[in-house]
């Protein structure tokens, strides 16, 4: 008893002598629930290992899934884009030539050689749609940018109708998986021809104006967020400007160095102004005098062509009927003068 009492007293003394910050905490590990067996852990480890060895899962087309209903997908798509299609033209627009050939071969193998069961592919629709797109985009650009030389209109159109960007549009509207084709994933050219076929189908079902509206809403709208001025770059900037002034019978433009800063450093900056008949018509900056001259010429050219930098806003909502009735071609660059354009 005495020893126990002595031990207690000693422990109280010890506890009082030790500071609060020195108290040791014992970490107790608690396992809740049933204890898991080692076999289960081994199995999970083995499964993980095999998954790593097998590599990433191969991508499969959505159509291979059990719950795929192609007809209802097509119906939902037509509702999504707000168009009505006649005589199965939507299904025809999505049917590629390669799919038709594949189906015919399968039927032959099965011994089904029925002449009435012929699938139609989208080639004729694609031709129609491409023609409409190319024509309408050019007309739209000419209506929106009436002062721009014809060459630049063509270059913007080519930029808009690049296969990569058109293929991107069809992926973005969720039509990539609806394409009936033998290859997976779909190639760019397949997506492009399907997109044009879709436009052709709309034109066939609802008329030219409706097809043009689709082109406006999807192809022209893809210009949004892009720098249009970057697409309007003549090869020899100052020379182009000079030729325009000479054609107009005016004094040739005169470049002058307005200011420069840090010319003996590795980050010099020059500013060139362009003057004509003792009037300042434009300014440009650059790392060298040549760059600054090019940029100054560009600023003058863009102002003359009706696309002033940081001021110009492209109109995306032009009336389709008005665009389709615009038969005027822009003035080509080799004949461009300010008198020849009607605007401004």
């Amino acid at each position: 008893m005495a020893t126990i009492r002595g031990c207690l007293a000693a422990s109280v003394l010890f506890r009082n002598s030790v500071k609060k910050s020195c108290v040791k905490y014992q970490v107790v590990r608690t396992v809740y629930g049933r204890k898991q067996s080692d076999e289960r852990a081994d199995m999970i480890r083995e499964l993980f290992k095999r998954k790593q060895e097998a590599g990433p899962e191969k991508k499969a087309h959505r159509g291979t899934y059990l719950d795929w209903n192609y007809k209802s997908e097509l119906f939902a798509f037509s509702k999504r884009i707000g168009e009505t299609f006649m005589n199965g033209s939507l299904e025809r627009a999505f049917t590629q030539r390669s799919y038709v050939l594949q189906q015919e071969a399968t039927q032959k193998d099965l011994g089904l050689d029925d002449p009435d069961r012929v699938l139609e592919d989208n080639r004729s629709l694609a031709e129609k749609g491409e023609e409409l797109s190319r024509d309408f985009v050019a007309r739209y650009l000419r209506t929106a940018l009436p002062c721009l030389p014809e060459e630049n209109i063509q270059s913007i159109r080519d930029h808009l109708l690049k296969p990569e960007s058109v293929a991107n549009i069809i992926s973005n509207i969720g039509a990539d998986e609806l394409i009936l084709t033998s290859e997976f994933p779909t190639e760019i050219q397949t997506r492009v021809s399907t997109f044009y076929a879709l436009i052709g189908a709309i034109e066939e079902s609802s008329g030219q104006e409706r097809g043009a509206l689709f082109v406006r809403d999807f192809i022209i709208a893809s210009l949004s967020g892009q720098d249009i001025n970057a697409l309007i770059m003549p090869e020899n900037k100052f020379e182009t400007l000079r030729e325009i002034f000479l054609r107009e019978g005016k004094e040739p433009p005169e470049p002058r160095l307005i200011s420069h800063v840090g010319i003996n450093t590795i980050i010099p900056s020059y500013r060139v102004g362009i003057y004509s008949e003792k009037k300042h018509i434009g300014t440009g900056d650059g790392e060298s005098v040549k760059d600054a001259l090019d940029n100054a010429s560009l600023s003058v050219l863009w102002k003359m062509w009706g696309v002033p930098d940081a001021v110009f806003q492209f109109p995306y909502q032009l009336d389709v009927g008005q665009v389709l009735s615009n038969n005027q071609t822009n003035v080509p660059g080799s004949e461009w003068t300010r008198e020849k354009i009607s605007c401004r």
Partner: protein, 206 residues
């Protein structure tokens, strides 16, 4: 980004070069003027984390003018991190050792503390007189207006001009006591107590 937009960005972030004439100027007040240009505070793109400061070339740092008796009263503390290596250098001693240091330290203390201070100090170019190397002189595109106009000394006025000035009073030579000592350190001036919280070792008065 088109080449045009790229050049716009280039011009926006171009570093300008400013000239500041330190002749007869108070360095501690001028430092706050120089700070505005060194840290780019005057630019619309300014942000404390934006490295957009300009270069400032200071000339005539030799002829800097300290207010009052600061040449004798202002001490610059330095510690070499060795035991007993504290030192207090008076402003006139520092200026004799290096005639750009007063301006440099004034600007250094005026700038905001932070990681950019060292970078901003490298863009400060101080010259004791008006001789600037041609590669630096070629960069300068702006002059900062000094805080005060530089007065002309009577000694520097030519005799012909001085003689034409009408003398209204005939004052005795000793009208102002000690006027012959103006502008010069007083040889008989007693050592003044240094206005710092510590004193050098071995000189305690108690």
């Amino acid at each position: 980004m088109s080449s045009f937009r790229r050049a716009q960005q280039w011009a926006t972030f171009a570093r300008s070069w400013h000239l500041y004439d330190m002749k007869w100027q108070n360095p501690y007040e001028s430092a706050y003027v120089i700070k505005k240009y060194l840290s780019g505070l005057w630019k619309p793109i300014y942000h404390p984390l934006n490295n957009c400061g300009d270069h400032v070339v200071v000339i005539n740092s030799k002829e800097v003018a300290l207010p009052g008796d600061d040449w004798y009263r202002r001490a610059y503390f330095h510690h070499r991190r060795y035991a007993g290596s504290k030192s207090w250098t008076l402003a006139w001693e520092l200026h004799e050792a290096d005639n750009t240091l007063i301006v440099k330290k004034a600007v250094y203390f005026a700038l905001e503390k932070g990681l950019f201070r060292g970078n901003q100090m490298t863009r400060l170019h101080i010259f004791p007189d008006a001789n600037i190397p041609p590669e630096i002189a070629g960069n300068i595109t702006n002059q900062i207006r000094p805080l005060r106009p530089v007065p002309s000394k009577l000694e520097e006025v030519p005799d012909e001009v001085a003689s034409q000035c009408p003398q209204l009073f005939d004052l005795p030579a000793d009208f102002v006591e000690g006027s012959d000592l103006w502008g010069k350190p007083d040889p008989e001036r007693k050592a003044q107590p240094i206005r710092t919280p510590y004193k050098p070792k071995g000189q305690e008065p108690w």
